[in-house]
């Protein structure tokens, strides 16, 4: 096979010479040139003609200096061989027969390689560890380098391309990358990113032609606009924009609207965060660029963004505002080079704080179409305004902006983070960008892409580790702002808690081991990162008689793992028995903070308890299907509310008598569980498609006497906890406990009445003793069966 790298080529020789000259050589050449000229002139001044030789020979260092600056540092590419395409800084350092390790060293030492190290964590040591000293293995690297260069559209084989080629030549590179949470495609994206950055710097350093000193001579003065508006064409905006599909289309549409003869207005309609204002900025930038291909009638026009609040503040009196706005718009029209932009245009079309309804005044202007106006509005507002004032909507040329795709969002993030890095003195890793996209997609619902990912990425800067924003920084940002847990369990405490979850829950509730196990398993799967992230953490249906621990398990879970019982979102579905109750279930948080969607939006990391689900109206259950299936429920405003970080537990007493019957006939739970569920379906208590949505259906069995004694222990432990502040504790004898069970247990109501009985017997006894002064701090009150009997009476009702 033909060798791909010829280390003795002319280009290689030139690059090597350039590397040898280096920065130090450049200074030396400059000094030599100056010395020869000055020295020559001095000799000539002394009357010696040989001075001409010195002056003449100053041309040699000057020429080498020019050559170095303009060619040797970045020699022109030649042909399709590796030596013809390698970047000058690499080629200059390579010898005629380099080994893979030497290539890795050089790739890591140049700018592109350092970029890859900073953005992906692929350091020089990593590259050294995966390469050998065998020059025969270089062929694979060169082949990869040529392929990657073509794939990324890079002009040369630069440090980034070469570093990626070195990695791809390592047989175990997929595993190595997986360890860094990367794939091969990500590295290709990395090389592309580096290429984009180079292009951005090049474009940024190119001189801009913006019309010169006489650009605005033919246009009018605009003192009012300068006072009440912001000039988007003042040249301070971003100079290089990202090609987001919908943005490019919208820009073309705007230009076509403003250069045709129709109504000179456009309304950009799209969700918040989709980039409507950015499009206006891009347009301002484009029409100010003399080299841009745009119609003459648009060239050098200026876009002014009107500020609603400063207009309102300047004209507080009745009718004053209309007059002021008319003067401002009149000025824009007279000036002839102004495009007005009403950002968040709803502020000008509806009454409210900081807004004003100018529809009647603006409508004739928009209909006449003489003054160029751009409005931006979100979809919902546009629909509202269209409904209220159809003629206003008809007078506008609508341009819809769709959210950016993942690829576009990643490109926007890569572009925007340069500014964030400069302002906040941080460096973003590629993994942070990916995580910002994925997590914002899941958790940020009030913005569209790319705004939602950018918002998260910006907030992640506050959680950087030594100035580096990693995937972990993004995790922390979302965990702190949304009060959820997204990463895998990484602290010893948490790991310990997860591994012993069953024991911790059993400290609060007795038996029901299968139920405890399934919820514990679900949580462990979630926190180990092995669950399906497009569904809730777990969805469970707890069936069984009342008072057997269904609700208690939910509370225990919220308390033990989610950080307190208040982390439980509880809904009694017996309050949702009519079809119209669906709207209450998904009501807007501003109107009903107790709706399911409002509570989960506020607290996504929680236990959602849907009590007595069998009593809900079928339409309510149908609404809940999507929640159980995809972990998403849309609220009344059509916003997605994520349940993907919640454990959803539905409870039902349906068939409680049948469970008791089975138990009394001596069946074990596992023997009749399946049959019991079939009975629930055949008796039309639940539809099969509803039951199928749950991860697990768990039947709770009634508690037996020894278990009820343990429940008494838990209740007494609770009483002791309450008394701990007074340094008093209660000790109930065993026969008293059995008596309490006899008195408190009701086969229909389960263990629930026992709490009331214990309250009446033990708490009242303690209260009396404390008030009579019989006990003091540090005392232990022994409660005997006789005392309990005396408190409850022999035939005391429960």
């Amino acid at each position: 096979m033909e060798p791909l790298y010829n280390g003795t080529s002319v280009r290689a020789a030139k690059a090597r010479f350039g590397a040898r000259v280096g920065k130090g050589g450049r200074i030396a050449l400059g000094l030599m040139c100056a010395f020869l000229v000055v020295g020559g002139v001095a000799v000539l001044s002394a009357g010696v003609a040989a001075g001409w030789i010195l002056v003449g020979f100053a041309a040699l260092p000057f020429m080498v200096l020019q050559w170095y600056s303009h060619e040797l540092t970045a020699p022109k590419t030649a042909g399709v061989t590796v030596d013809g395409l390698l970047a000058g800084d690499i080629l200059g350092k390579l010898n005629t027969s380099p080994s893979p390790r030497q290539i890795a060293d050089i790739a890591a030492s140049v700018q592109g390689g350092q970029f890859l190290a900073a953005r992906f964590g692929i350091t020089k040591v990593t590259l050294q560890n995966i390469t050998s000293d065998d020059p025969a293995e270089t062929q694979a690297i060169w082949q990869n380098a040529l392929r990657i260069r073509e794939q990324t559209g890079s002009e040369t084989i630069d440090g980034a391309v070469l570093a990626v080629a070195v990695i791809f030549s390592f047989p175990g590179h997929e595993d190595l990358l997986a360890h860094m949470k990367l794939g091969s495609d990500d590295l290709i994206e990395g090389a592309r990113w580096y290429e984009d950055l180079k292009r951005m710097i090049e474009e940024g350093s190119r001189p801009r032609r913006t019309g010169g000193i006489a650009r605005d001579f033919s246009f009018g003065y605009i003192p009012l606009l300068r006072r009440f508006g912001q000039n988007l064409s003042d040249g301070t905006g971003a100079k290089v924009s990202v090609d987001v599909g919908s943005h490019v289309a919208a820009l073309d549409q705007l230009i076509s609207t403003f250069s045709s003869g129709g109504r000179q207005n456009a309304v950009l309609v799209g969700e918040t965060g989709v980039g409507k204002t950015t499009i206006v900025h891009d347009l301002a930038d484009r029409i100010l660029d003399a080299s841009a291909r745009i119609p003459q009638s648009l060239k050098f026009r200026q876009i002014f963004l009107l500020d609603a609040s400063s207009l309102i503040a300047a004209a507080p009196g009745r009718g004053e505002l209309e007059g002021l706005v008319m003067r401002v718009l009149g000025e824009a029209y007279s000036a002839k080079n102004i495009i007005i932009c009403l950002d968040n245009a709803q502020l000008f079309f509806e009454e409210g704080v900081g807004s004003v309804d100018l529809s009647n005044m603006l409508l004739p202007i928009l209909e006449a179409g003489n003054l160029r106006i751009i409005l931006t509005m979100d979809e919902q507002r546009f629909l509202q305004i269209s409904q209220r004032n159809p003629s206003l909507a008809n007078a506008l040329n609508r341009i819809s902006i769709t959210p950016a795709t993942k690829q576009e969002t990643m490109a926007v993030m890569r572009h925007q983070l340069i500014y964030a890095e400069y302002q906040r003195h941080v460096t973003y890793m590629y993994q942070a960008l990916q995580e910002a996209y994925d997590l914002s997609e899941r958790y940020v619902h009030d913005l569209a892409m790319p705004g939602r990912a950018l918002k998260l990425l910006e907030s992640a800067a506050g959680y950087s580790e030594n100035g580096v924003v990693t995937a972990n920084s993004v995790h922390m940002a979302i965990e702190k702002t949304m009060d959820i847990k997204v990463g895998v369990a990484n602290t010893d405490d948490e790991r310990e808690k997860l591994l012993n979850l069953e024991d911790l829950i059993h400290e609060r509730m007795i038996n029901q081991t299968r139920a405890v196990q399934v919820v514990s398993d679900a949580l462990r799967r979630a926190r180990a990162g092995v669950r399906n992230v497009s569904r809730p953490v777990g969805t469970f249906l707890f069936l069984g008689p009342t008072g057997v621990g269904k609700t208690e398990l939910s509370k225990a879970l919220a308390d033990v793992y989610f950080g307190g019982e208040e982390r439980m979102v509880r809904l009694d579905l017996n309050e949702y028995v009519r079809p119209e109750d669906v709207s209450r279930l998904i009501a807007d948080g501003a109107e009903d903070p107790t709706s399911l969607t409002a509570q989960v939006m506020k607290q996504p990391f929680s236990v959602v308890l849907l009590d007595e689900i069998e009593k809900a109206h079928p339409q309510v259950l149908t609404t809940l299907l999507q929640l159980l299936d995809e972990g998403i429920l849309r609220d009344i405003k059509n916003r997605e509310v994520s349940f993907r970080d919640a454990i959803v537990i539905a409870t039902s007493n349906a068939g409680a008598d049948r469970i008791r019957e089975y138990i009394e006939r001596g069946y074990k739970l596992q023997d009749f569980e399946r049959q019991f569920v079939d009975e629930l379906i055949s008796s039309n208590q639940f539809r099969p498609e509803f039951l199928n949505r749950f991860d697990e259906i768990v039947v709770f069995r009634p508690l037996e006497k020894p278990e009820l004694v343990q429940v008494i222990d838990l209740i007494i432990a609770g009483i002791n906890k309450q008394l701990a502040s007074q340094k008093i504790s209660v000790n109930v004898t065993d026969d008293a406990k059995v008596y309490l069970v006899d008195k408190g247990y009701d086969p229909r109501l389960g263990a629930r009445p026992m709490r009331r009985v214990v309250q009446r017997a033990v708490e009242n006894l303690v209260a009396k003793q404390m008030l009579s002064g019989a006990v003091s701090a540090g005392a232990v009150i022994d409660v005997t069966r006789e005392q309990v009997e005396a408190m409850l009476g022999p035939d005391s009702p429960q």
């Binding site: 002319v10 020789a13 030139k14 010479f17 020559g40 002139v41 000539l44 001044s45 009357g47 010696v48 003609a49 040989a50 001075g51 001409w52 030789i53 010195l54 002056v55 003449g56 020979f57 100053a58 041309a59 040699l60 000057f62 020429m63 080498v64 020019q66 050559w67 303009h70 060619e71 022109k76 001189p207 032609r209 913006t210 019309g211 010169g212 000193i213 006489a214 650009r215 605005d216 001579f217 033919s218 246009f219 009018g220 003065y221 003399a290 050098f300 029209y333 007279s334 000036a335 002839k336």
Partner: protein
């Protein structure tokens, strides 16, 4: 190797190097033309200067006459200002063009300087 480098240096000097210089001169000239808005000034030489009214003026003959005079005065001022800038800009551009041309010619002569220096040293003129 030395001869190869010398050959390559000269090849670049009279090839890409010279072309690069010419391109740089052209870019700078474009910048100056843009700075003085030459194209715009020529196109709008007789347009009103900083116009304060647009479109047709309605009203009595008196009002229309006054508007016409206003516009005429505005156009006159505009033409004067623009002409002055055109002249100043024209001179600046011409000077820059001449200077750039001289520099381009000088670029071609630089490799000959050592020989020229040796000849002058032999001929003997001194300062």
């Amino acid at each position: 190797m030395f001869m190869l480098l010398v050959t390559e240096l000269l090849r670049w000097w009279y090839g890409d190097g010279w072309r690069g210089r010419a391109r740089l001169a052209s870019v700078r000239l474009d910048g100056t033309i843009d700075y003085f808005s030459i194209g715009l000034l020529v196109k709008t030489l007789f347009s009103p200067f900083r116009q304060i009214s647009a479109g047709r003026v309605d009203g009595s003959l008196n009002v229309q006459m006054r508007a016409l005079v206003d516009k005429l005065v505005s156009r006159l001022i505009g033409a004067m200002v623009r002409t002055v800038i055109l002249v100043v800009g024209g001179i600046a551009i011409a000077l820059q063009a001449v200077l750039s041309g001289l520099l381009l010619v000088a670029w071609g002569l630089v490799p000959l300087l050592p020989v020229a220096g040796a000849v002058l040293a032999f001929v003997g003129p001194v300062l």
